[in-house]
């Protein structure tokens, strides 16, 4: 049985990518907390998942054909947040909410990181055998 990193990591490597991308989007919201007409944005995990599964696949009629992924056909995974409350200058950044989301996001990052770390040390243990 071959060791497959993809199945061992169970998608947590992709999750780290997603968490760091989301951290950048949330940091941008917080940076623009005083910018007129700025609308706060967010990436949802669902939209990213849909985006990935809507990718155009290369048609393969023979088992020797190379499989490939095309560009995403769906819309952008980056969405606009529904504001709780409008403001006079058109900015809808809710600072408390953004900070909470950012904290939650970095905790989820830590969770995925710890999972990956344990997976790697488990594999190391299996390789060295002591």
């Amino acid at each position: 049985m071959a060791i497959s990193f993809a199945s061992a990591f169970a998608g947590h490597d992709k999750t780290l990518e997603f968490r760091s991308a989301r951290a950048a989007v949330l940091a941008n919201n917080i940076a623009n907390a005083d910018t007129p007409n700025f609308k706060s944005r967010d990436i949802s995990f669902d939209s990213m998942l849909n985006d990935a599964s809507n990718k155009l696949q290369l048609a393969g009629t023979n088992s020797k054909h190379i499989s490939g992924e095309g560009f995403s056909s769906g819309s952008d995974a980056l969405l606009y947040r529904n504001a709780n409350q409008p403001s006079l200058d058109g900015n809808n950044v809710d600072m408390q909410r953004e900070q909470a989301e950012y904290a939650q996001n970095s905790l989820q990052f830590d969770t995925s990181f710890m999972f990956l770390d344990r997976k790697i040390s488990g594999m190391k243990k299996a390789l060295t055998g002591n």
Partner: protein, 149 residues
């Protein structure tokens, strides 16, 4: 890598908030700068923020702005500084050395309470961005230790 983007984003926000603090300092310093005509009087200055996009980042000399994230903004920039058009305060002080022929001196349209509130808002925003940067830094440092334990 989008984690290193956070440094550019929060850095741009911190410099924008510093400009805002600077205008507050200038307004508070000139709160009693009188003049004898309306067009020579100091007017309150306010910065105008706008969202920074990827292409304008490179224009501003931020070389490490990433090319990959389309559509998402990459920080905030100061578009310019505008002078407030709130009415000035003419006061009748004939004994004042700056008084004009009718005996009026013009005081700036700076509202000290508004400026203090602006100052608090700017320094809080600055602190928040420092915290964001710190947390991104610890995320990156953690990333470097992956698989070491």
């Amino acid at each position: 890598m989008s984690l290193s983007n956070i440094f550019t984003i929060s850095g741009s926000a911190m410099s924008a908030q510093t400009v805002r603090l600077n205008t507050v300092a200038s307004n508070m310093a000139n709160v009693d700068s009188v003049a004898s005509s309306a067009d020579q009087t100091y007017r309150a200055r306010k910065p105008v923020f706008s969202q920074m996009m990827n292409d304008s980042m490179r224009e501003f000399g931020w070389s490490n702005a990433s090319m990959d994230d389309s559509g998402a903004g990459v920080g905030v920039k100061v578009d310019g500084i505008v002078e407030s058009d709130a009415p000035l305060q003419p006061r009748y002080e004939p004994d004042h050395p700056m008084a004009n022929e009718e005996g009026y001196v013009f005081y700036p349209n700076v509202n000290p309470i508004e400026e203090m509130a602006d100052m608090m808002s700017a320094s809080r925003s600055f602190q928040t961005n420092v915290e964001i940067m710190n947390s991104a830094k610890s995320m990156m440092q953690k990333m470097l230790t992956l698989g070491q334990s």
